[in-house]
Symmetry: C2
Subunit: 164 residues, 2 copies
């Protein structure tokens, strides 16, 4: 097998992640609620559950990985968006790739700051959920529906994500 | 003002919380995904965004409270469910009350275990978001729509939540 091609995990920011999805974090405008004791950063995710689908909340319990992290597999959900909300304050790894028309281009990687969730837009190529510490506990807001809603792609050589 | 009436914060469990909503946690059946590295606890919340509404994800940044905690205000959202997903592993306080027909009965309180989120069913009387430590960061999945979707009720005397 070929030597892994290396990619750096960049800090997760909304502008850098915009081609792939939304960063859900405390930033920008807010509404003051609950007698001043809470700021509501309103409606941050472009949710899309397609025809015949509906929103659901599932809990994912994923094994922690470590950097450097090697992978060949990415996937996408053609019928709906998918949000990963960490239920801990630990940073996690996010891998995405542009779409080149039915297959992904070269992947890019981001590292969250421990106070961010993300929402992949419908059809975005992404790596599987990769926490970097235990427990790998996430609330996942995605499409509940009758279709498989899954495409997988395997790169012909591995990629290696390293810390930036 | 009258002396606060005291209520104990009970451990949050799915059976005890069932009259008010769903506990989103690692429990019960799951689907094995991602080549065995992730368990998906599937579709745990009874979401309901009513006619004319849609699902949204907002981020709430709430000030931490402490026990004993005094309150008089509860509220409900007549047009949709509301899920509170903590983005830290810290326990938080959940206050709910049965509906006696346009007004709430006596409140009850629960304390999460640090690995639980909750979803209030549509129309459930509840206290405002009350983290017990900083940062009070939550992803909130609730109704985005054109109606106010808020009813408030003030008890005529305060309630005091204490640790069980």
């Amino acid at each position: 097998m070929a030597a892994p091609r290396q990619i750096n995990a960049a800090p997760l920011t909304a502008p850098a992640f915009a081609p792939f999805g939304d960063v859900l974090e405390v930033a920008g405008d807010f509404r003051v609620i609950n007698e001043g004791l809470c700021h509501r950063h309103h409606d941050l995710a472009r949710l899309d559950f397609g025809p015949g689908g509906r929103a659901g909340i599932s809990v994912f319990d994923a094994q922690a990985r470590a950097l450097p992290y090697d992978f060949t597999l990415v996937e996408r959900h053609p019928d709906g968006s998918q949000a990963f909300v960490p239920m801990t304050a630990a940073p996690f790894l996010i891998i995405v790739a542009p779409d080149l028309g039915q297959r992904p281009g070269n992947p890019v990687a981001f590292l969250s700051n421990g106070a961010q969730a993300i929402n992949f837009h419908r059809g975005t190529w992404h790596g599987v959920l990769t926490p970097l510490s235990e427990p790998g506990l996430f609330a996942v807001i995605d499409r509940i529906g009758p279709t498989p809603n899954l495409e997988e792609f395997r790169y012909d050589a591995p990629w290696r994500v390293v810390a930036a």
